[in-house]
Protein backbone atom coordinates (compact mmCIF):
# COMPACT_ATOMS: atom_id res chain seq x y z
CA UNK A 1 0.00 0.00 0.00
CA UNK A 2 1.42 3.31 -1.10
CA UNK A 3 -0.20 6.53 -0.07
CA UNK A 4 -0.78 9.07 -2.82
CA UNK A 5 2.49 10.96 -3.21
CA UNK A 6 0.79 13.93 -4.82
CA UNK A 7 -0.64 15.06 -1.50
CA UNK A 8 0.82 18.58 -1.64
CA UNK A 9 -0.05 18.99 -5.27
CA UNK A 10 -3.60 17.87 -4.66
CA UNK A 11 -4.01 20.24 -1.76
CA UNK A 12 -3.09 23.02 -4.18
CA UNK A 13 -5.81 21.76 -6.50
CA UNK A 14 -8.31 22.17 -3.69
CA UNK A 15 -7.03 25.70 -3.99
CA UNK A 16 -7.87 26.70 -0.46
CA UNK A 17 -4.92 28.57 1.01
CA UNK A 18 -3.90 27.06 4.30
CA UNK A 19 -3.79 29.77 6.87
CA UNK A 20 -1.20 28.50 9.30
CA UNK A 21 -2.07 31.20 11.81
CA UNK A 22 -5.76 30.42 11.87
CA UNK A 23 -7.42 28.63 14.74
CA UNK A 24 -8.48 25.83 12.41
CA UNK A 25 -5.00 24.78 11.39
CA UNK A 26 -3.32 22.63 13.94
CA UNK A 27 0.00 21.18 12.81
CA UNK A 28 -0.02 17.45 12.17
CA UNK A 29 -3.81 17.35 12.44
CA UNK A 30 -5.66 15.71 9.56
CA UNK A 31 -9.22 15.93 10.85
CA UNK A 32 -10.71 18.47 13.20
CA UNK A 33 -14.36 18.49 14.26
CA UNK A 34 -14.90 21.84 15.91
CA UNK A 35 -18.10 21.83 18.06
CA UNK A 36 -19.99 20.07 15.27
CA UNK A 37 -23.70 19.44 15.54
CA UNK A 38 -26.01 17.92 13.00
CA UNK A 39 -29.78 18.11 13.16
CA UNK A 40 -31.93 15.97 10.85
CA UNK A 41 -35.35 17.16 11.82
CA UNK A 42 -36.21 20.27 13.72
CA UNK A 43 -35.23 18.87 17.09
CA UNK A 44 -33.58 15.49 16.39
CA UNK A 45 -29.86 15.79 16.95
CA UNK A 46 -27.78 13.21 15.05
CA UNK A 47 -24.61 14.73 16.46
CA UNK A 48 -24.22 17.29 19.21
CA UNK A 49 -21.14 19.32 20.07
CA UNK A 50 -18.53 16.97 18.62
CA UNK A 51 -14.94 18.04 19.25
CA UNK A 52 -12.51 15.60 17.73
CA UNK A 53 -8.99 15.78 16.38
CA UNK A 54 -7.29 13.06 14.37
CA UNK A 55 -3.58 13.20 13.64
CA UNK A 56 -2.11 12.54 10.22
CA UNK A 57 -1.58 8.80 9.73
CA UNK A 58 -3.65 7.92 12.78
CA UNK A 59 -5.98 4.90 12.84
CA UNK A 60 -9.26 5.75 14.55
CA UNK A 61 -12.17 3.45 15.25
CA UNK A 62 -15.55 5.10 15.49
CA UNK A 63 -17.74 2.81 17.50
CA UNK A 64 -21.23 2.96 18.83
CA UNK A 65 -24.58 1.31 18.51
CA UNK A 66 -26.83 1.75 15.50
CA UNK A 67 -28.13 5.31 15.39
CA UNK A 68 -25.26 6.64 17.50
CA UNK A 69 -24.20 8.97 14.65
CA UNK A 70 -21.24 7.08 13.14
CA UNK A 71 -22.41 7.35 9.52
CA UNK A 72 -23.39 11.01 10.01
CA UNK A 73 -19.92 11.77 11.34
CA UNK A 74 -18.32 10.17 8.28
CA UNK A 75 -20.70 11.89 5.86
CA UNK A 76 -19.76 15.22 7.38
CA UNK A 77 -16.14 14.34 6.80
CA UNK A 78 -16.46 13.87 3.06
CA UNK A 79 -19.02 16.62 2.66
CA UNK A 80 -22.12 14.62 1.81
CA UNK A 81 -23.78 16.34 4.76
CA UNK A 82 -23.16 19.79 6.16
CA UNK A 83 -23.03 20.57 9.87
CA UNK A 84 -25.86 22.54 11.44
CA UNK A 85 -23.27 24.29 13.59
CA UNK A 86 -19.51 24.11 14.00
CA UNK A 87 -16.98 23.25 11.33
CA UNK A 88 -15.26 20.18 9.96
CA UNK A 89 -11.67 20.67 8.83
CA UNK A 90 -9.66 18.24 6.75
CA UNK A 91 -5.99 19.16 6.75
CA UNK A 92 -6.98 22.65 7.84
CA UNK A 93 -9.48 23.05 5.02
CA UNK A 94 -13.09 23.67 6.13
CA UNK A 95 -15.16 21.07 4.26
CA UNK A 96 -18.39 23.04 4.70
CA UNK A 97 -16.82 26.17 3.23
CA UNK A 98 -15.63 24.56 0.01
CA UNK A 99 -17.22 25.08 -3.38
CA UNK A 100 -18.48 21.95 -5.14
CA UNK A 101 -15.43 21.79 -7.36
CA UNK A 102 -13.02 22.14 -4.46
CA UNK A 103 -14.97 19.55 -2.52
CA UNK A 104 -14.66 17.20 -5.50
CA UNK A 105 -10.88 17.62 -5.47
CA UNK A 106 -10.84 17.00 -1.71
CA UNK A 107 -12.80 13.77 -2.21
CA UNK A 108 -10.21 12.61 -4.71
CA UNK A 109 -7.78 12.40 -1.81
CA UNK A 110 -10.15 10.17 0.13
CA UNK A 111 -11.00 6.53 -0.23
CA UNK A 112 -14.58 6.04 0.91
CA UNK A 113 -16.19 2.71 1.74
CA UNK A 114 -19.93 3.12 2.00
CA UNK A 115 -22.13 1.11 4.32
CA UNK A 116 -24.45 0.20 1.42
CA UNK A 117 -21.46 -0.42 -0.92
CA UNK A 118 -22.88 1.87 -3.63
CA UNK A 119 -21.92 -0.43 -6.49
CA UNK A 120 -23.38 0.22 -9.92
CA UNK A 121 -25.44 -2.78 -10.96
CA UNK A 122 -25.14 -2.25 -14.69
CA UNK A 123 -21.34 -2.22 -14.62
CA UNK A 124 -18.90 -5.05 -14.11
CA UNK A 125 -16.87 -5.39 -10.94
CA UNK A 126 -13.81 -4.10 -12.78
CA UNK A 127 -15.70 -1.06 -14.12
CA UNK A 128 -17.00 -0.35 -10.62
CA UNK A 129 -13.53 -0.44 -9.17
CA UNK A 130 -12.12 1.76 -11.94
CA UNK A 131 -14.97 4.27 -11.54
CA UNK A 132 -12.89 6.91 -9.67
CA UNK A 133 -10.28 6.96 -12.45
CA UNK A 134 -13.07 7.09 -15.01
CA UNK A 135 -14.69 10.13 -13.43
CA UNK A 136 -11.39 11.90 -12.89
CA UNK A 137 -10.49 11.33 -16.53
CA UNK A 138 -7.02 10.23 -15.46
CA UNK A 139 -4.64 9.30 -18.26
CA UNK A 140 -2.16 7.34 -16.19
CA UNK A 141 -2.13 3.58 -16.39
CA UNK A 142 -3.97 2.42 -13.31
CA UNK A 143 -4.76 -1.13 -14.35
CA UNK A 144 -1.69 -2.66 -12.70
CA UNK A 145 -2.58 -1.08 -9.40
CA UNK A 146 -6.22 -2.18 -9.78
CA UNK A 147 -5.17 -5.75 -10.56
CA UNK A 148 -2.85 -5.83 -7.55
CA UNK A 149 -5.56 -4.67 -5.14
CA UNK A 150 -8.18 -6.96 -6.64
CA UNK A 151 -5.87 -9.94 -6.33
CA UNK A 152 -5.05 -8.96 -2.77
CA UNK A 153 -8.75 -8.96 -1.96
CA UNK A 154 -9.28 -12.13 -4.00
CA UNK A 155 -11.84 -10.63 -6.37
CA UNK A 156 -9.78 -10.48 -9.57
CA UNK A 157 -11.57 -13.62 -10.77
CA UNK A 158 -14.88 -11.77 -10.56
CA UNK A 159 -13.75 -8.79 -12.63
CA UNK A 160 -16.13 -9.47 -15.53
CA UNK A 161 -19.12 -10.33 -13.39
CA UNK A 162 -21.83 -7.93 -12.36
CA UNK A 163 -22.38 -7.03 -8.69
CA UNK A 164 -25.68 -8.95 -8.51
CA UNK A 165 -23.74 -12.10 -9.37
CA UNK A 166 -21.60 -11.72 -6.23
CA UNK A 167 -22.32 -12.52 -2.61
CA UNK A 168 -22.72 -9.72 -0.06
CA UNK A 169 -19.17 -10.25 1.19
CA UNK A 170 -17.72 -10.14 -2.32
CA UNK A 171 -19.65 -6.99 -3.08
CA UNK A 172 -18.23 -5.43 0.05
CA UNK A 173 -14.73 -6.40 -1.03
CA UNK A 174 -15.32 -4.74 -4.40
CA UNK A 175 -16.47 -1.58 -2.60
CA UNK A 176 -13.36 -1.66 -0.40
CA UNK A 177 -11.14 -2.23 -3.42
CA UNK A 178 -12.64 0.85 -5.14
CA UNK A 179 -11.65 2.95 -2.12
CA UNK A 180 -8.15 1.51 -1.94
CA UNK A 181 -7.10 1.67 -5.59
CA UNK A 182 -6.92 5.46 -5.57
CA UNK A 183 -4.19 5.14 -2.91
CA UNK A 184 -5.73 7.87 -0.77
CA UNK A 185 -4.17 9.77 2.09
CA UNK A 186 -7.36 9.35 4.05
CA UNK A 187 -9.53 6.24 4.21
CA UNK A 188 -13.06 6.61 5.46
CA UNK A 189 -14.86 3.31 5.96
CA UNK A 190 -18.40 2.85 7.19
CA UNK A 191 -18.82 -0.67 8.54
CA UNK A 192 -16.44 -2.12 5.96
CA UNK A 193 -16.46 -5.59 7.47
CA UNK A 194 -20.16 -5.77 8.26
CA UNK A 195 -20.94 -8.43 5.67
CA UNK A 196 -17.71 -10.38 5.84
CA UNK A 197 -16.93 -13.67 7.53
CA UNK A 198 -14.35 -13.44 10.34
CA UNK A 199 -11.45 -14.53 8.11
CA UNK A 200 -12.27 -12.06 5.33
CA UNK A 201 -12.88 -9.35 7.92
CA UNK A 202 -9.40 -9.89 9.33
CA UNK A 203 -7.88 -9.83 5.80
CA UNK A 204 -9.66 -6.58 4.98
CA UNK A 205 -8.73 -5.14 8.33
CA UNK A 206 -5.07 -5.97 7.64
CA UNK A 207 -5.22 -4.05 4.38
CA UNK A 208 -6.53 -0.99 6.23
CA UNK A 209 -3.80 -1.53 8.76
CA UNK A 210 -1.13 -1.50 6.05
CA UNK A 211 -2.61 1.67 4.57
CA UNK A 212 -2.34 3.28 7.97
CA UNK A 213 1.28 2.19 8.35
CA UNK A 214 2.03 3.65 4.92
CA UNK A 215 0.87 7.01 6.24
CA UNK A 216 -2.82 7.15 5.42
CA UNK A 217 -5.23 8.40 8.05
CA UNK A 218 -7.90 5.76 8.60
CA UNK A 219 -11.36 6.38 10.02
CA UNK A 220 -12.99 3.04 10.58
CA UNK A 221 -16.59 3.01 11.76
CA UNK A 222 -17.69 -0.30 13.23
CA UNK A 223 -19.86 -1.79 15.90
CA UNK A 224 -17.67 -4.90 15.99
CA UNK A 225 -15.86 -4.64 19.34
CA UNK A 226 -13.62 -7.59 18.48
CA UNK A 227 -12.04 -5.78 15.54
CA UNK A 228 -10.99 -2.87 17.69
CA UNK A 229 -8.91 -5.21 19.79
CA UNK A 230 -6.86 -6.20 16.71
CA UNK A 231 -5.31 -2.77 16.43
CA UNK A 232 -3.82 -0.34 18.83
CA UNK A 233 -5.74 2.49 17.13
CA UNK A 234 -7.68 5.06 19.09
CA UNK A 235 -11.28 4.23 19.82
CA UNK A 236 -13.81 7.03 19.65
CA UNK A 237 -17.16 5.97 21.02
CA UNK A 238 -20.37 7.70 20.07
CA UNK A 239 -23.52 7.53 22.15
CA UNK A 240 -26.68 9.19 20.96
CA UNK A 241 -24.76 11.71 18.90
CA UNK A 242 -22.25 12.64 21.59
CA UNK A 243 -18.72 11.53 22.30
CA UNK A 244 -18.78 9.03 25.14
Amino acid sequence: MVVNKDHDLNIKKINQPLDLCSKSYIPNTMIHFDSVSKVYDTDVFALKGIDLRVRKGEFVFITGTSGAGKSTLLKLLYGELMPASGHVYVDGVPVDGLTRTRRAYLRRQMGIVFQDFKLLWDRTVLENICLPFFVWGTRKDYMRSVERFMKELDIWKYRDLYPHQLSGGEQQKAAICRALVVEPWMLVADEPTGNLDPQSATEVFNIFNRASKAGATVIFATHNEKLTSLHSGRIVKLEKGRLA
Partner: protein
Amino acid sequence: MMRIINEALEDILKHRMTSMLMVSIIAVSVFVSSLFLSLVFNLDAFQSRWSKNVRLYVFTVENADINLIQEETKKITGVISSQKYFSEEAVDILKKKFPGQDVAFSSTLVPSFIEIRTGVNELDQVRTALEKIEGVEDIVVNSAWFDALSKLLSVIKYVASAVIFLLLAMALVMIAYSSRIGVLERKPEISLMRLCGATEWRLRTPYMCSGIILGFIGGGLGIAAYLLLKSFLQGTAVTFMSSWQELPLLQIAALYLCSIFVGAVGNLAAFFRGSHE
Protein backbone atom coordinates in the same frame (compact mmCIF):
# COMPACT_ATOMS: atom_id res chain seq x y z
CA MET B 1 -13.19 14.36 -24.86
CA MET B 2 -13.69 11.09 -26.74
CA ARG B 3 -14.59 9.47 -23.43
CA ILE B 4 -17.29 12.08 -22.82
CA ILE B 5 -18.68 11.62 -26.35
CA ASN B 6 -18.69 7.85 -25.88
CA GLU B 7 -20.51 8.27 -22.58
CA ALA B 8 -23.07 10.55 -24.27
CA LEU B 9 -23.60 8.08 -27.13
CA GLU B 10 -23.96 5.22 -24.65
CA ASP B 11 -26.57 7.23 -22.79
CA ILE B 12 -28.46 7.97 -26.02
CA LEU B 13 -28.47 4.31 -27.03
CA LYS B 14 -29.38 3.16 -23.54
CA HIS B 15 -32.43 5.44 -23.46
CA ARG B 16 -33.42 4.87 -27.09
CA MET B 17 -37.08 5.67 -26.67
CA THR B 18 -36.47 8.90 -24.76
CA SER B 19 -33.81 9.88 -27.27
CA MET B 20 -36.15 9.24 -30.20
CA LEU B 21 -38.84 11.25 -28.49
CA MET B 22 -36.42 14.13 -27.97
CA VAL B 23 -35.23 13.99 -31.59
CA SER B 24 -38.86 14.01 -32.74
CA ILE B 25 -39.70 17.00 -30.54
CA ILE B 26 -36.75 18.95 -31.89
CA ALA B 27 -37.41 17.88 -35.49
CA VAL B 28 -41.08 18.89 -35.37
CA SER B 29 -40.41 22.20 -33.67
CA VAL B 30 -37.59 23.03 -36.10
CA PHE B 31 -39.75 22.03 -39.09
CA VAL B 32 -42.69 24.20 -37.98
CA SER B 33 -40.31 27.01 -36.99
CA SER B 34 -38.69 26.88 -40.42
CA LEU B 35 -42.11 27.30 -42.05
CA PHE B 36 -42.83 30.33 -39.90
CA LEU B 37 -39.34 31.67 -40.45
CA SER B 38 -39.85 31.29 -44.17
CA LEU B 39 -43.13 33.18 -43.86
CA VAL B 40 -41.44 36.01 -41.93
CA PHE B 41 -38.64 36.15 -44.47
CA ASN B 42 -41.02 36.25 -47.44
CA LEU B 43 -43.23 38.85 -45.81
CA ASP B 44 -40.13 40.98 -45.42
CA ALA B 45 -39.30 40.52 -49.09
CA PHE B 46 -42.92 41.22 -50.02
CA GLN B 47 -42.96 44.40 -47.95
CA SER B 48 -39.67 45.49 -49.38
CA ARG B 49 -40.98 44.96 -52.95
CA TRP B 50 -44.13 46.95 -52.22
CA SER B 51 -42.27 49.70 -50.44
CA LYS B 52 -40.76 50.58 -53.84
CA ASN B 53 -44.17 50.86 -55.41
CA VAL B 54 -45.67 54.02 -53.91
CA ARG B 55 -47.39 56.16 -56.52
CA LEU B 56 -47.78 59.93 -56.65
CA TYR B 57 -50.09 61.68 -59.08
CA VAL B 58 -48.94 65.09 -60.23
CA PHE B 59 -51.58 67.41 -61.70
CA THR B 60 -50.47 70.42 -63.67
CA VAL B 61 -51.90 73.91 -64.12
CA GLU B 62 -53.78 74.64 -67.32
CA ASN B 63 -51.58 75.19 -70.41
CA ALA B 64 -48.46 73.87 -68.64
CA ASP B 65 -45.95 71.93 -70.70
CA ILE B 66 -46.47 68.41 -69.34
CA ASN B 67 -43.51 67.03 -71.31
CA LEU B 68 -41.16 69.54 -69.69
CA ILE B 69 -42.56 68.79 -66.21
CA GLN B 70 -42.10 65.08 -66.79
CA GLU B 71 -38.47 65.65 -67.76
CA GLU B 72 -38.02 67.64 -64.52
CA THR B 73 -39.54 64.84 -62.42
CA LYS B 74 -37.16 62.28 -63.90
CA LYS B 75 -34.24 64.28 -62.54
CA ILE B 76 -35.44 63.99 -58.93
CA THR B 77 -33.48 61.46 -56.88
CA GLY B 78 -35.69 58.68 -55.58
CA VAL B 79 -38.03 58.64 -58.57
CA ILE B 80 -38.16 55.12 -59.98
CA SER B 81 -40.42 55.88 -62.96
CA SER B 82 -42.42 58.75 -64.36
CA GLN B 83 -45.30 58.27 -66.77
CA LYS B 84 -47.46 61.04 -68.24
CA TYR B 85 -51.11 60.63 -69.13
CA PHE B 86 -52.93 63.18 -71.28
CA SER B 87 -56.57 63.73 -70.47
CA GLU B 88 -57.64 61.86 -73.65
CA GLU B 89 -55.60 58.83 -72.62
CA ALA B 90 -57.04 58.95 -69.13
CA VAL B 91 -60.57 59.10 -70.49
CA ASP B 92 -59.86 56.12 -72.76
CA ILE B 93 -58.62 54.12 -69.79
CA LEU B 94 -61.72 55.01 -67.78
CA LYS B 95 -64.02 54.16 -70.63
CA LYS B 96 -62.40 50.74 -70.99
CA LYS B 97 -62.72 50.17 -67.28
CA PHE B 98 -66.35 51.24 -67.06
CA PRO B 99 -68.01 50.28 -70.37
CA GLY B 100 -71.49 51.65 -70.97
CA GLN B 101 -70.81 54.80 -68.97
CA ASP B 102 -69.00 56.66 -71.75
CA VAL B 103 -71.15 59.74 -71.32
CA ALA B 104 -69.89 60.34 -67.81
CA PHE B 105 -66.30 60.82 -68.94
CA SER B 106 -65.16 63.82 -70.92
CA SER B 107 -61.66 65.22 -71.39
CA THR B 108 -62.67 68.41 -69.62
CA LEU B 109 -63.43 66.51 -66.41
CA VAL B 110 -60.28 64.41 -66.41
CA PRO B 111 -57.10 66.50 -66.46
CA SER B 112 -53.69 65.40 -67.72
CA PHE B 113 -51.37 64.03 -65.01
CA ILE B 114 -48.02 62.38 -64.37
CA GLU B 115 -47.81 59.13 -62.42
CA ILE B 116 -44.59 58.85 -60.44
CA ARG B 117 -43.37 55.67 -58.76
CA THR B 118 -41.05 55.99 -55.77
CA GLY B 119 -39.94 54.21 -52.60
CA VAL B 120 -41.70 54.74 -49.30
CA ASN B 121 -38.53 56.08 -47.70
CA GLU B 122 -38.04 58.65 -50.45
CA LEU B 123 -41.68 59.75 -50.53
CA ASP B 124 -41.33 63.00 -48.56
CA GLN B 125 -38.16 64.01 -50.36
CA VAL B 126 -39.73 63.41 -53.79
CA ARG B 127 -42.91 65.19 -52.82
CA THR B 128 -41.00 68.32 -51.68
CA ALA B 129 -39.01 68.33 -54.92
CA LEU B 130 -42.19 67.97 -57.00
CA GLU B 131 -43.85 70.88 -55.25
CA LYS B 132 -40.95 73.11 -56.30
CA ILE B 133 -41.44 72.39 -60.02
CA GLU B 134 -43.13 75.23 -61.91
CA GLY B 135 -46.53 74.27 -63.33
CA VAL B 136 -47.39 71.68 -60.71
CA GLU B 137 -50.82 72.38 -59.27
CA ASP B 138 -51.55 69.41 -57.03
CA ILE B 139 -49.91 66.19 -55.84
CA VAL B 140 -52.00 63.23 -54.75
CA VAL B 141 -50.31 60.49 -52.80
CA ASN B 142 -51.95 57.14 -52.41
CA SER B 143 -49.98 55.66 -49.51
CA ALA B 144 -52.79 54.83 -47.09
CA TRP B 145 -53.05 51.28 -48.44
CA PHE B 146 -49.32 50.88 -47.94
CA ASP B 147 -49.48 51.96 -44.29
CA ALA B 148 -52.34 49.55 -43.67
CA LEU B 149 -50.50 46.73 -45.42
CA SER B 150 -47.31 47.49 -43.49
CA LYS B 151 -49.19 47.33 -40.20
CA LEU B 152 -50.83 44.05 -41.15
CA LEU B 153 -47.52 42.53 -42.26
CA SER B 154 -45.83 43.70 -39.07
CA VAL B 155 -48.51 42.04 -36.95
CA ILE B 156 -48.17 38.80 -38.93
CA LYS B 157 -44.38 38.96 -38.57
CA TYR B 158 -44.56 39.53 -34.82
CA VAL B 159 -47.03 36.67 -34.39
CA ALA B 160 -44.88 34.35 -36.52
CA SER B 161 -41.73 35.31 -34.59
CA ALA B 162 -43.56 34.71 -31.31
CA VAL B 163 -44.71 31.30 -32.56
CA ILE B 164 -41.11 30.38 -33.45
CA PHE B 165 -39.92 31.48 -30.02
CA LEU B 166 -42.74 29.61 -28.28
CA LEU B 167 -42.14 26.46 -30.31
CA LEU B 168 -38.46 26.40 -29.41
CA ALA B 169 -39.22 27.21 -25.76
CA MET B 170 -41.82 24.44 -25.64
CA ALA B 171 -39.35 22.01 -27.22
CA LEU B 172 -36.82 22.99 -24.55
CA VAL B 173 -39.30 22.38 -21.72
CA MET B 174 -40.46 19.08 -23.20
CA ILE B 175 -36.87 17.90 -23.62
CA ALA B 176 -36.07 18.94 -20.05
CA TYR B 177 -39.00 16.86 -18.80
CA SER B 178 -38.41 13.77 -20.93
CA SER B 179 -34.68 13.79 -20.28
CA ARG B 180 -35.28 14.09 -16.54
CA ILE B 181 -36.53 10.50 -16.48
CA GLY B 182 -33.08 9.36 -17.61
CA VAL B 183 -31.36 11.60 -15.07
CA LEU B 184 -33.53 10.28 -12.23
CA GLU B 185 -32.71 6.75 -13.35
CA ARG B 186 -29.02 7.57 -13.21
CA LYS B 187 -29.24 9.52 -9.97
CA PRO B 188 -27.51 6.88 -7.81
CA GLU B 189 -24.68 6.76 -10.32
CA ILE B 190 -24.41 10.54 -10.40
CA SER B 191 -24.29 10.82 -6.62
CA LEU B 192 -21.69 8.05 -6.47
CA MET B 193 -19.60 9.84 -9.09
CA ARG B 194 -19.85 13.00 -6.98
CA LEU B 195 -18.62 11.09 -3.95
CA CYS B 196 -15.77 9.65 -6.01
CA GLY B 197 -14.59 13.18 -6.77
CA ALA B 198 -16.34 14.05 -10.02
CA THR B 199 -16.62 17.79 -10.57
CA GLU B 200 -19.97 19.24 -11.59
CA TRP B 201 -18.49 20.03 -14.99
CA ARG B 202 -17.49 16.38 -15.43
CA LEU B 203 -21.03 15.26 -14.57
CA ARG B 204 -22.74 17.84 -16.76
CA THR B 205 -20.64 17.49 -19.88
CA PRO B 206 -22.00 14.11 -21.09
CA TYR B 207 -25.56 15.42 -20.72
CA MET B 208 -24.70 18.56 -22.59
CA CYS B 209 -22.95 16.48 -25.22
CA SER B 210 -25.89 14.10 -25.69
CA GLY B 211 -28.19 17.13 -25.91
CA ILE B 212 -25.98 18.59 -28.64
CA ILE B 213 -26.02 15.28 -30.54
CA LEU B 214 -29.81 14.96 -30.26
CA GLY B 215 -30.28 18.61 -31.23
CA PHE B 216 -27.99 18.08 -34.20
CA ILE B 217 -29.96 15.05 -35.41
CA GLY B 218 -33.39 16.56 -34.65
CA GLY B 219 -32.50 19.91 -36.19
CA GLY B 220 -31.11 18.20 -39.29
CA LEU B 221 -34.28 16.15 -39.72
CA GLY B 222 -36.51 19.21 -39.25
CA ILE B 223 -34.60 21.26 -41.80
CA ALA B 224 -34.48 18.34 -44.24
CA ALA B 225 -38.26 18.00 -43.92
CA TYR B 226 -38.66 21.71 -44.64
CA LEU B 227 -36.45 21.53 -47.74
CA LEU B 228 -38.30 18.45 -48.97
CA LEU B 229 -41.66 20.15 -48.54
CA LYS B 230 -40.38 23.24 -50.33
CA SER B 231 -39.10 21.25 -53.31
CA PHE B 232 -42.31 19.17 -53.38
CA LEU B 233 -44.50 22.30 -53.50
CA GLN B 234 -42.31 23.83 -56.18
CA GLY B 235 -42.51 20.58 -58.14
CA THR B 236 -46.29 20.60 -58.04
CA ALA B 237 -46.19 24.15 -59.46
CA VAL B 238 -48.28 25.78 -56.77
CA THR B 239 -48.64 29.28 -58.18
CA PHE B 240 -47.71 31.34 -55.15
CA MET B 241 -44.61 29.19 -54.56
CA SER B 242 -43.01 30.52 -57.73
CA SER B 243 -42.43 33.87 -56.07
CA TRP B 244 -41.75 32.26 -52.67
CA GLN B 245 -38.12 32.81 -51.79
CA GLU B 246 -35.77 30.20 -50.29
CA LEU B 247 -34.65 30.77 -46.72
CA PRO B 248 -31.11 32.15 -46.79
CA LEU B 249 -28.40 29.76 -45.62
CA LEU B 250 -27.63 32.03 -42.68
CA GLN B 251 -31.20 31.72 -41.34
CA ILE B 252 -31.17 27.94 -41.81
CA ALA B 253 -27.84 27.80 -39.97
CA ALA B 254 -29.25 29.98 -37.17
CA LEU B 255 -32.25 27.66 -36.83
CA TYR B 256 -29.94 24.66 -36.77
CA LEU B 257 -27.85 26.28 -34.03
CA CYS B 258 -31.06 27.00 -32.10
CA SER B 259 -32.00 23.30 -32.26
CA ILE B 260 -28.56 22.32 -30.93
CA PHE B 261 -28.91 24.94 -28.20
CA VAL B 262 -32.38 23.66 -27.29
CA GLY B 263 -31.07 20.08 -27.04
CA ALA B 264 -28.08 21.04 -24.90
CA VAL B 265 -29.93 23.42 -22.58
CA GLY B 266 -32.91 21.07 -22.24
CA ASN B 267 -30.65 18.23 -21.19
CA LEU B 268 -28.68 20.45 -18.82
CA ALA B 269 -31.89 21.71 -17.22
CA ALA B 270 -32.97 18.10 -16.74
CA PHE B 271 -29.62 17.33 -15.13
CA PHE B 272 -29.84 20.29 -12.74
CA ARG B 273 -33.38 19.46 -11.69
CA GLY B 274 -32.99 15.70 -11.60
CA SER B 275 -29.63 15.38 -9.90
CA HIS B 276 -30.38 17.84 -7.11
CA GLU B 277 -33.90 16.64 -6.31
